[in-house]
């Protein structure tokens, strides 16, 4: 399962980089979305992928018995997902503003602030 996820994450990163390097602004944003998903999945995989066992201490026990997934990375990606969601929402609104004020949808033409 981990190796499958690793391939998926690699694919997502590759797609994200490809999209980031495209000239269209909308594709650039798709690239940003993909790269944040790839990061989240990466952290998710780090915690270990184990089916059907919650990281809870059984009644009467002092510590966890058996192999469970590390719950901390899952807590981390919850935070990262929420932050990513907000930031991407802002970026999409910003994209609309870029198009409204400049009428440009090609990153190669966005050179006015570099002059």
């Amino acid at each position: 399962m981990e190796s499958l996820l690793a391939i998926l994450i690699g694919g997502l990163f590759a797609a994200a980089v490809y999209m980031l390097l495209r000239r269209s602004i909308i594709k650039l944003i798709i690239g940003l979305i993909l790269i944040s998903h790839a990061c989240n999945l990466l952290i998710f995989t780090i915690g270990g992928v184990i089916r059907g066992k919650a990281p809870l201490i059984e009644e009467g026990e002092k510590q966890i018995t058996g192999i469970v997934a590390d719950p901390l990375p899952q807590a981390l990606i919850l935070t990262a997902i929420v932050i990513g969601f907000g930031v991407i929402a802002f970026t999409i609104v910003l994209l609309e503003q870029v198009y409204k004020t400049t009428g440009i949808n090609d990153t190669d033409d966005l050179v006015n602030s570099d002059k």
């Binding site: 602004i25 989240n40 990375p73 907000g86 930031v87 802002f90 970026t91 910003l94 004020t101």
Partner: protein
């Protein structure tokens, strides 16, 4: 153990809420924000005093012991940064009162609803900045970065002019990519060590078998923090965005935001990633050299004051990481001293250029002129930070350059020291270019309307609040220049803590380890 250490994070949040509550009441908002900024500055001095007298202050949030919960750590470096952010916050709060007044000309004053969002966002951004300085947990640092970034995104685009939106777009994109690098780095580091507490990480990292992978991860952090600090190949977003927003916002960004990146670099590359110094710090050394040269060459070719200052900022970043790269106590102390000097001076230069713009209606040095005759006092206020940046004794820039370069020479880095000295000359050259064009030469358009504006008098209500912070910051520059010793002692103390990570580790984990 002192709860007071999280005050610099909680207080700006309170101020953000209060200024938000006074939405649409501009006067109230200004008074609330100014008094809040003053208290914030006092709090920050209190933190520094506490740390200097009682050593490193640690608080475990929620009472969870160190490696498990989130720790907030105030060591000397953190408290220096907190004090600087307090000073900048107060200066800009003062400056904004005059700056945000209605202007008869010019185009970048905030209009309508936008002006009410300015203070809340500024306060929330300072919460993020202070949080990043104080946190002792790597993932928590990511969260504070995002708090800081999201408010800086909105601040940068506030007003919504064409250039601003374009600059913001570049800024947002590069920062999202850099956040992705941060997350990857954090994830990989956690998978190897099983902890995110920085002190615990520093403790665990030397015991890891796969040290090569660790170097890879450290470079992830170098890329991520380097993008935020605008180091050599990753700086292109800075001159493309920092000159677009209203100048008070640009001043805070130039003063504080890139320094958050530098602070993080200093933190992780002295505390955690010191296993392979020969490799990582050599890379940083070369990056430092290129950053200095490329930044100053960029500055020479510009004619917009804000863009000259943006490129100048990049070249100064080079000096700061130069000290980190040399990696001796004196060099680190030099870096910290440089940060102290630089935040004050760079913010000051941006604030002065805002005054020039308000008087003359332009940032382009070709269109400016005759300021020395008309406003000799303002000219002196510009000359102090300008000469300081260039490193003219006895101003603060001279000492900061001296310490860094002396440390480099002691370690026999001759080539890069020569580069650093040459870049100092270039800095003097483009600062004098601004001086000659904007202040010295005659006004190219002497009878322009702007000269007859009522704000001829710098001490009128339109200007006085812009002048006070500039005088304050120039005063600090002169004081650091004439009495560098107490400041250098503090910097040396922070360097001592940074070069001996066990002090930091013991302070944070002390109670849980035997």
């Amino acid at each position: 153990m002192h709860v007071f250490i999280i005050a610099p994070v909680l207080f700006p949040l309170l101020m953000g809420l209060l200024t938000l509550a006074s939405w649409r009441r501009k006067k109230t908002q200004e008074i609330v924000n100014l008094s809040g900024a003053f208290i914030q500055m006092l709090i920050s001095f209190g933190i520094l005093y506490l740390v200097l007298t009682k050593g490193i202050q640690v608080i475990q949030i929620g009472g969870w012991e160190a490696p498990f919960g989130i720790s907030f750590v105030g060591d000397t470096l953190s408290s220096i940064m907190i004090v600087l952010s307090g000073i900048i916050n107060f200066s800009v709060a003062l400056y904004s009162i005059s700056y945000m007044l209605k202007r008869k000309m010019g185009e970048d004053m905030l209009k309508g609803q936008f002006q009410f969002a300015y203070y809340p966002l500024l306060n929330i951004m300072f919460m993020g900045i202070n949080g990043a300085f104080l946190t002792g947990d790597l993932f928590n640092m990511y969260v504070w970065f995002e708090v800081m970034l999201i408010s800086s995104f909105v601040l940068l685009s506030l007003g919504g002019s064409k250039l601003q939106i374009e600059g913001t777009f570049k800024y947002v994109t590069i920062n999202l990519v850099s956040s992705a690098f941060f997350l990857i780095g954090v994830g990989l580091l956690y998978s190897m060590t099983g902890t995110l507490n920085m002190a615990h990480l520093a403790d665990v990292i030397p015991t890891i078998e796969n040290q090569k992978m660790l170097t890879v991860v450290s470079l992830m952090f170098l890329i991520c923090f380097g993008m935020k600090a605008a180091i050599f190949p990753l700086f292109f977003w800075l001159p493309a965005s920092y000159h677009t927003p209203p100048i008070s916002i640009a001043a805070v960004f130039a003063g504080m935001l890139t320094k958050v990146g530098i602070y993080s670099l200093l933190r992780v590359f002295t505390l955690m990633f010191i296993g392979n110094v020969a490799f990582t710090h050599t890379i940083i050394l070369w990056i430092a050299g290129f950053t200095m040269v490329v930044g100053s060459l960029g500055a020479i070719s510009q004619s917009d004051i804000r863009r000259i200052l943006s490129f100048c900022l990049i070249s100064q970043i080079g000096y700061m990481i130069f000290g980190l790269a040399v990696f001796t106590p004196l060099a680190i102390a030099g870096s910290v001293f440089y940060i102290m000097h630089h935040i004050i001076v760079k913010t000051n230069l941006f604030l002065v250029s805002g005054i020039i713009h308000k008087i003359k209606g332009s940032y382009n040095i070709k269109k400016l002129g005759g300021i020395l005759n008309a406003y000799p006092f303002l000219s002196v206020l510009f000359l102090i930070p300008a000469l300081s940046v260039a490193g003219i004794p006895p101003l603060s820039g001279f000492w900061s350059k001296l310490f860094v370069i002396k440390a480099a020479l002691e370690q026999h880095y001759y080539l890069i020291s020569i580069i650093a000295l040459a870049v100092g000359l270039l800095t003097l050259f483009y600062m004098m270019k601004i001086w000659n064009e904007a202040f010295w030469k005659d006004d190219p358009e002497p009878n322009k309307k702007s000269d007859k504006m009522p704000w001829q008098n710098l001490f009128s209500r339109d200007f006085i609040f812009m002048i006070i912070p500039v005088v304050l910051l120039s005063g600090i520059t002169v004081v650091i220049g004439i009495f560098p010793e107490p400041f250098f002692n503090i910097a040396e103390r922070s360097a001592h803590e940074l070069m001996n990570p066990e002090i930091y580790i013991k302070a944070v984990l002390g109670s849980t380890m035997n």
